[in-house]
Amino acid sequence: MLTHLVILQVIVPLLAAPLCLFLTSSRLSWFFALISSLITCVISILLLQQVMTVGTIVYELGDWNAPWGIEYRIDKLSAYLLIIISSISTVVLLAAQTSIEEEIPQDRHNVFYVLYLLSLAGMLGIVATGDVFNVFVFLEITSLSAYSLIALGRDRRALWASYQYLIMGTIGATFILIGIGLMYQMTGTLNMNDLSVRLREVDQTRTIFVAFSFIFVGICLKLALFPLHFWLPNAYAYAPSIVTAFFAATSTKVAIYLLIRFTFSVFGLSYSFTALPLQTLLLVLGLLGIFVASIAAIYQQNVKHLFAYSSIAQIGYMVVGISMNTTMGLMATLLHLFNHALMKGALFLALAALIYQTGSVRLSDFQGLGRQMPLTMAAIVLGGLSLIGVPLTVGFVSKWYLVLAAIEVGWWPVAVLMLVASLLAIIYVWRIVEIAYFSPPANGMAQGREIAKEAPLAFLIPVWLLVSSNIYFGIDTRLSVQVAQAASQSLIGLSP
């Protein structure tokens, strides 16, 4: 049983998804989805324990030997990502039923859970597999369910956002497919481990260079790295709130994982960072992304848009960490990946609670909410503080390591720029705080709006679960730092 955990991780949600269709009531399928997500979460914890003690787990599908058969390979990085994805998915699902009652028509509830579990299975699959073509297949499973989930949004703009995402996402995935084909042409293998060895022999050819460029651009499209981020804000803003909370916390993380996996493991550090000017490219795009998106966030009127832009900025931080090409930088990226999942999960879930109660996420409708929904607003404030990087929150930990990593490689200006960018985060978080706490609610009531009540427990429990883990991992950093450090060391050590 224990040896099959690797495949169960992916199979459980994949099989649970169609079964949801047969369940008669939406409550039942919610419960079923929650249980299957919880199972993957437990499995991922077991896997992490196993990986940390005995090292990389290799699982051969159907007992076919590796270069011919498909191999699932869980190393420290994969195990770390699996935990992030499955735990966030479980916590978000806790609030799902209550939230979609408001936002999605009754007859589509079952379909919602089917799509949710499919995208969960896809993300877990991308992270678990050791086969590049399998990555493409799982990527498309995730993306297709993501497009449909976004299109479930109430607003008609959700349809347009979903369509745009579909076009961009398909181009990105097809680019990755081209890259995989060219790699196969040169090496005759699809296994990542095998590829990393065989690519050495042919890495001076133009074909491999083209393959690498295609894969890099394809992943950057999925990643929403500036300037390929245009699909993201609308997709996040108009999707049902639960979907936003889930994707904001996980899907870009998976793309970061792919970037790390391809540049560090498959192509190898020495190749990736010399074939393309990856260091300059990622550094410049990352920094530009941080500034452009943070400034754009300041001017948003829709709070979901605001946090979506802030997500693009946070992706910038992670990419800057990768560009340093050191253990420290990579570790900071991995930490930020985990921490960002916690904060964005908390923030978007709190917004879901606001939408449930007030039906609006326009900044002007936030007046007086600090008093009317104290617990939800407090969660948003704490999440915002974490986003800024105030000490005692997780945001501080990852920014601290990022700055340390920048100083370690002697990039003083970069360290300063990242601190300046945090000031921009203060501005956009402050705008929310100011309106929610310091404007009288009278204005809103004059327009005939009911006084908002505190969100139901179905929201408060998952939101505060995430907020308290924001603080817990901000104080007790042992677990996250230890795993991130081990993962980055093995990645940098892997490549010659």
Binding site: L144, R156, L159, A173
Partner: protein
């Protein structure tokens, strides 16, 4: 040299045509057609990679020494399925967009969205 690699030329030309249509055309259906051409070019790339001059299908019989590599062909079967799913979803979205906005032109939709903002 150039003629020997004609399959790749076809791939590249189709790829560029597809990508151009996706970028340049404002009609939602045309964009999806472009996307299809783009994806089809990748299928041809994979299939032609597997082909060897004078080979046959990969079936074990006597007197056959050269056969094409079946793996890329199988991979492309999967990719075709993905492509069909994407196309179906894209077209479904286009229908819903037409119902909601009363238009399937990118410009009109963006104008209507900007008015609402």
């Amino acid at each position: 040299m150039l003629m020997g690699l004609y399959n790749y030329w076809i791939v590249v030309i189709l790829m560029m045509i597809g990508l151009y249509i996706v970028i340049a055309h404002g009609n939602l259906i045309k964009k999806i057609v472009g996307l299809n051409i783009f994806q089809t070019s990748v299928f041809i790339l994979y299939i032609s990679i597997a082909k060897i001059d004078g080979d046959t299908a990969p079936i074990l019989t006597e007197g056959v020494n050269h056969y094409s590599n079946p793996l890329p062909h199988v991979l492309i079967l999967t990719a075709i399925v993905v492509c069909i799913a994407t196309t179906a979803l894209g077209l479904a979205l286009a229908v819903r967009i037409k119902e909601a906005y009363g238009s399937a032109e990118e410009e009109d939709i963006q104008k209507k969205d900007n008015k609402e903002c």
